[in-house]
Symmetry: C2
Subunit: 316 residues, 2 copies
Amino acid sequence: MKHVVCGIDLGGTNSPFGFVEKDGNIAGGSAVKTTDYGTFEDYINALLDEIGKTQSKLKETKIVGFGIGAPNGNYYTGTVQDAPNLKWKGRLEFAKMLSGKTGLPAYLTNDANAAAIGEKLFGNAKGMKDFIIITLGTGLGSGIYCGGQLLYGSTGFAGEVGHIVVDFSGRPCGCGRKGCLEQYASATGIKKTVIEMLADGKKESMLRKYTEDEIDGKTIHDAAKQGDKLALEAFEYTGEILGKALANAVAFSSPEAIFLFGGLANAGEYIFEPAKRHMENNMLNNFRGTVKLLPSGLKENTAAILGAAALCWNEI
Amino acid sequence: MKHVVCGIDLGGTNSPFGFVEKDGNIAGGSAVKTTDYGTFEDYINALLDEIGKTQSKLKETKIVGFGIGAPNGNYYTGTVQDAPNLKWKGRLEFAKMLSGKTGLPAYLTNDANAAAIGEKLFGNAKGMKDFIIITLGTGLGSGIYCGGQLLYGSTGFAGEVGHIVVDFSGRPCGCGRKGCLEQYASATGIKKTVIEMLADGKKESMLRKYTEDEIDGKTIHDAAKQGDKLALEAFEYTGEILGKALANAVAFSSPEAIFLFGGLANAGEYIFEPAKRHMENNMLNNFRGTVKLLPSGLKENTAAILGAAALCWNEI
């Protein structure tokens, strides 16, 4: 009998899940559509139904627990609170409900923390005690390991590097403040940078042929690959702000490595090179040359499930 | 027989030490003058000599180990490396030498980390798992607890909050970079602020009667107490920069409390009130109202010794 943890990635649109063995092998999986269910209870029932169906197709597989990665997820309480991209508001008792209906242990944390645990168990952070993972997607999420422990802090919400303010009179952020790092260093951030640069009107750029909606991490990356100067400058600017913020983060926790993951990180050297250069150039002497800036070792399409499952494997 | 740890505070001018019992009681102590010794070995010999003499005056006291708080001290290696205010350069094997000469365990860390351990064992952070201590002296030192562990990071140098850059084109710092927090939020920082404000020439201030040398944390505090507008404005400005930086630190590690300690913290509400207000106003929603800004529970004249001793009590 194969023991697996069911890792669930609660997304705004879809909720993929997978049966993950202790070594990180995914024995099977499926998904439900998050937006299909009016109440959270209906969603949970449909999710468990689909998990049951999927499991019945596999032979000799025993689920020993659940791990959930969720936006605004709180590890201490196992709840999801007022996540901006979910229609169910208030406090969702995700872990308790799963556990109550199945009799199995269920653990929940936010997506970026799950990514960090996944990186440590199954990715490139094996054996590392101090590292940071930064997910550069629509926003900027982060998970931080200190001395071998994931950093939760007193509230359970530690590791909000995306909401470290880099310019107190900067771009408005969805959190209601101004100048948060994620307004610059994320897929959304580089898009804003490009649109500002285009509005400036002076530079030739192949990006001018796109509508605003068409400009995204991918079109900017493609333009950079073709040597488009404006796109290259946008990466340089994004890397500068990210690199300086990372130099400050290093002064705080002195990690062995920082991993970049998600949409914008797929631009490879276009983002890694300037981020690394500005990080090194702005680092306190003590830390120069001590921090590796690395790509994640997990594949983008399975990382969230692996991370969520890793959380549970870590606990049981 | 009373068991004590000898806590040593390696300072640029003096090296006070004390025999600290497990409950924080100081059974006795003395000091040697750091600057009196040409070589580090001479210093260690004189220090052990004075420790022996002091111990012989006490009855029934057994030293069970040494704890050392030192500038640029590294916990992992037990060494002091190129401390700016010490004349012995290179790598000083402080812990190894003490241990070698006495056969007793010796542990070393930097001053601010020692202060954090002291606060947890003997001060106001008892029972707290996540907190930050900020020492506002000549510079700004910090010690950070995460999940019940002191944060050392991969290098042993984590917790350099004083060298988090708040303005990349700001005041030059002794570290060779610009705009480090300690250039604003420290006794030196507020002095620089006052001197800039005085040079501005527009404001009446009783601080104009002092020479630059006479302007320090104490004269600025005294002027503020008498309602001097420029001094009050300097505290407001210092509190704003400190409060915003603390709001960013909270986004990283979500502490239960932040303790202010040392010279500038003695100005009480003049620094606590604006720092707290700007910290709250600039905090991410999740963290608002979750962080206490508190004075240290240790007395300034014994804190360093208690902290150094606490390090050793923690280990043995």
